[in-house]
Symmetry: C3
Subunit: 438 residues, 3 copies
Amino acid sequence: MEHVSPGALAQSASAGIGRDIYELAARLYPICRSITGDGVRQTLDMLSDHIDLKRHEVPSGTQVLDWVVPAEWTVRAAIITGPDGQKVVDFADSNLHVVNYSQPFTGALPLGELKAHIHTLPDQPDLIPYRTSYYAPAWGFCMAHEQAAALPDGLYHVEIDAELKDGSLTYGEYLHRGQSEREFLLSAHICHPSLANDNCSGLALLALLAKSLRARKTRYSYRFLFAPGTIGAITWLSRNEDRLHLIDHGLVVSCVGDAGRPAYKRSRRADAFIDRVMAHVLGTEPGARMLDFSPYGYDERQYCSPGFDLPVGMFQRSVHGEFPEYHTSADNLDFIAPEHLEDSFRILTGVIDIVEEDWTPLNLFPKGEPQLGRRGLYAALGGNKASGATSMALLWVLNLADGKHSLLAMAERSGLPFGELAAAARLLVEHGLLAAAS
Amino acid sequence: MEHVSPGALAQSASAGIGRDIYELAARLYPICRSITGDGVRQTLDMLSDHIDLKRHEVPSGTQVLDWVVPAEWTVRAAIITGPDGQKVVDFADSNLHVVNYSQPFTGALPLGELKAHIHTLPDQPDLIPYRTSYYAPAWGFCMAHEQAAALPDGLYHVEIDAELKDGSLTYGEYLHRGQSEREFLLSAHICHPSLANDNCSGLALLALLAKSLRARKTRYSYRFLFAPGTIGAITWLSRNEDRLHLIDHGLVVSCVGDAGRPAYKRSRRADAFIDRVMAHVLGTEPGARMLDFSPYGYDERQYCSPGFDLPVGMFQRSVHGEFPEYHTSADNLDFIAPEHLEDSFRILTGVIDIVEEDWTPLNLFPKGEPQLGRRGLYAALGGNKASGATSMALLWVLNLADGKHSLLAMAERSGLPFGELAAAARLLVEHGLLAAAS
Amino acid sequence: MEHVSPGALAQSASAGIGRDIYELAARLYPICRSITGDGVRQTLDMLSDHIDLKRHEVPSGTQVLDWVVPAEWTVRAAIITGPDGQKVVDFADSNLHVVNYSQPFTGALPLGELKAHIHTLPDQPDLIPYRTSYYAPAWGFCMAHEQAAALPDGLYHVEIDAELKDGSLTYGEYLHRGQSEREFLLSAHICHPSLANDNCSGLALLALLAKSLRARKTRYSYRFLFAPGTIGAITWLSRNEDRLHLIDHGLVVSCVGDAGRPAYKRSRRADAFIDRVMAHVLGTEPGARMLDFSPYGYDERQYCSPGFDLPVGMFQRSVHGEFPEYHTSADNLDFIAPEHLEDSFRILTGVIDIVEEDWTPLNLFPKGEPQLGRRGLYAALGGNKASGATSMALLWVLNLADGKHSLLAMAERSGLPFGELAAAARLLVEHGLLAAAS
């Protein structure tokens, strides 16, 4: 297979890209998303400003694998008013204040009864937690523990002006068509409300990564999926079962804007090509982490369920659940920054470069080294102590070009960067020393 | 295959079990055992107070593999009397004083000649060593080095009133029948005289483990073998060659009463199921050791000889030969304690639990996660930071239940305790989500 | 296959061998070698004082794989005379002063122009570097940086009385014939001028190793190759393509006389028998290093090119390019010493011992342990704490003699020295317990 255009275009596109991603994430941040409803649609609208998204609406009640598409949730107001008539919490101040997917409720309760519906974080008393109740009918509020602890006894008035009715589940897709119909799936969950890292960062990064690919002629096709967590991935899998065999690589992307070092959770297969690519790319990132698959986390849970077992890993920075801001009001726009988003973008672009440019060469002069000096490919004056990295890359490619090593396999064995070996291979092809293994 | 009853019965039986094992070991301790003779028979009598042992007598002279069953040894007295007419050592004080399997001898010798027949431990001058001479005709005494060094010159009178004559080699077997004729072999050597850890501890522990199984309906059959070291194992192997293919798992058990941390020596195969079970069980025991197979030690030498290569490992606490009390008079009843015996019993019970309860499940809803919440199997309120271990076990079992992972394989990959996964699997079976892989 | 005579003869031959190797290296040191020419012939003459070398002359212009045998180089004088008429450098003082393979040149140049032809080491200002220009026509001088920096302006007279004309490339071979035509290739490069470690040490060591083998009846045939680097190996490979399948093991040997600890660079195959042997032998050498293959270094580059992929590794002490004396005038006769040469000789002899003596035994009594005591093979008095290494070797050999483990495999698994296992196997053969696996 012919190797394809280098990452030059994508790289030039990355100038200032961190700022662009941040700005898009900041626009997405205030929206009150849930697994269904207008928040998802507004989010897809904003992403559509950058890429030509295809939107799908799947009616409530549709059977999707073992699940059923739930009712559509709308919340208009959620307020607790205290015994003194003052507002205690108001959803208008923060959409974390209401338990996501709350049932409607209006009534007056004494403090003791109300507290059964109030969620706080005693260890982080000034933060509002993020809570959901998608699959058990309930209503509730979230607030700072220190505020809840200070509430006086008395009768509280609660109003949750919400609605759960037949509607649809909404998700968006964007396909960048490459030369092949083989696909690289990139997936981000769209269901979290005002949480900046989890996952405004992932939605914004993927949208602008998709946008940057428009200028690049690729070998693979790239499918970007923006869908609500769990039920969205399950819905998409259910509707695309006959196409899943086309997926050669995949990444779930979330929490990519914070100051933590990059981390990759391997696919269930553990040795899929994407796992090897991520190991190579993160191998040169100081402090980066490679984590084994576990069936807890984001939508890799669904993609890597045993009936699908897709080659899909998970890319993030600080690992979800391990940073104190996770699922709290502290996961706000101060928690993410353009430089971290840009760093994540650079890493994913490097991953795509390898996926695009890997190929398996064959040394046409495999017996002994071909005479590189005669071809101007070697420092003419021998005996010099310094052996330039380029010479090493040429020698490694020639030595391993037995038709059994792709460039990535060469990078793994030699310890040289993939890009250096890819450049050496191009040079050797130009000089007639290398061809593609059949 | 259906999974079988949990270890609940065995566990309830273990209350006070350490005390029971200790008491049995203490009864066994004073007996003068050897590879043949009445000491072995008396020992089997005591074990028969607890389990219905089948006793085998194999005549002297019987060919067993490359060996021949030796003559039966009887010792009635063994005394050295000094120049002054005082007893220097008397077998009646400690059965370690006579070299085990000594030829009879009566005579008077000057000190110089006598010393060629006296064994001591110069580095442990107050201890009596344990010595044997089974296969080379010899007579001798063992005593404290400090005592031997102080012996005055002169003529010593020696009397060893012993007998070596045709008789038989004795061993005992107990079979706990399970649903299957596939067997788990548990073997302890019965030939050592007054050594508490090596191996009164192993004899007593296995007898009471066998007793505890009577209340348990098991999948496997459990064969308990109490036989003299080396020649006993060889005799048993020789007489059971046609049945060895039934042995799926095996453990040699010795030195299980001291304060050392548990240790397991792998079978020659190194990756037998029993090796994996022991690695999992000891993985959570602080300070536990996993040792590679070597062809030195106890009867695993015979079970793991290349012509048999049985899946038999060796369980012990302090490793034989590595603790200073080993094969000396310091390996007495003060060296072992009920709590250590109980700890060893608990570990072996845990091993049996896994052997009994391992099975290979199949996820009946393998595409995506089945909806656990709907079935009451999942914390209803999402977004909570704490993910209970039970939820993790459910998710791991579902994810790995592809028919290629047994519960033990799941424990190995997930790092979760086997018992947690087994409990999760039971729950999933109850809810119709899991079945046995065919 | 029968095992062959132990290394006893070779070992006795090693007394004083370090001194002998050093003396031969010292004789070789002053010669001005290059990839062609009389320096190579003089070197082969000196080696022929010890072994019956077969000399090959391959005409200039001969096509060898992708290369062409170059013209033969002769240099008679190389002098720079300063503005004051004094000699600045004279090849007669050190053959490093002229760039190896320089074109002839006579002329007068101002200092500025001359400097483009002068090579120095600014970081090691008192040392003369070693430089070559085999495949790009050029002329030049090498000198101490501090001398070059002090040269006054002015017109310099340069004379390089050299000649490049049709002749031949010369290499030498010595074959020690063994019982089998299967070969062990030992190769050293002969093209470096006055550099003691790189590679007078390797040439001298291999010549005397070859000499020492004359007294030994071997199983393998041993081929010693003394050829110029790169082009010599390529020429030899080109002329012996049809015989390469006979090579079972190989080592490139260079830099074996310095005080560094021994190092082995694995073959491209990484798990060839020679790689395993070197790992075992160096496993007991303090500070020894095992290095992965890389396609840079000495002639293993050619032997391990993908079209040949021979099982050839590289043995050295300080790794070329990593010691500061490398390719400078400091790699002189003070840099190597008889004790290091002897140490290298001892290691290679140990390697040959294993290659010669490895075989795969079969236990004739595989069921249980055979009774060693009856055969006088075991300490008669059991129960002793100390188990001699010899007993352990006997037990390991018996246990692993299932026809699937060679002695080397037994050494790898047991951690015992190969020689101890080989001795145990001999003893077991003598007692009828062991035979060769078919």
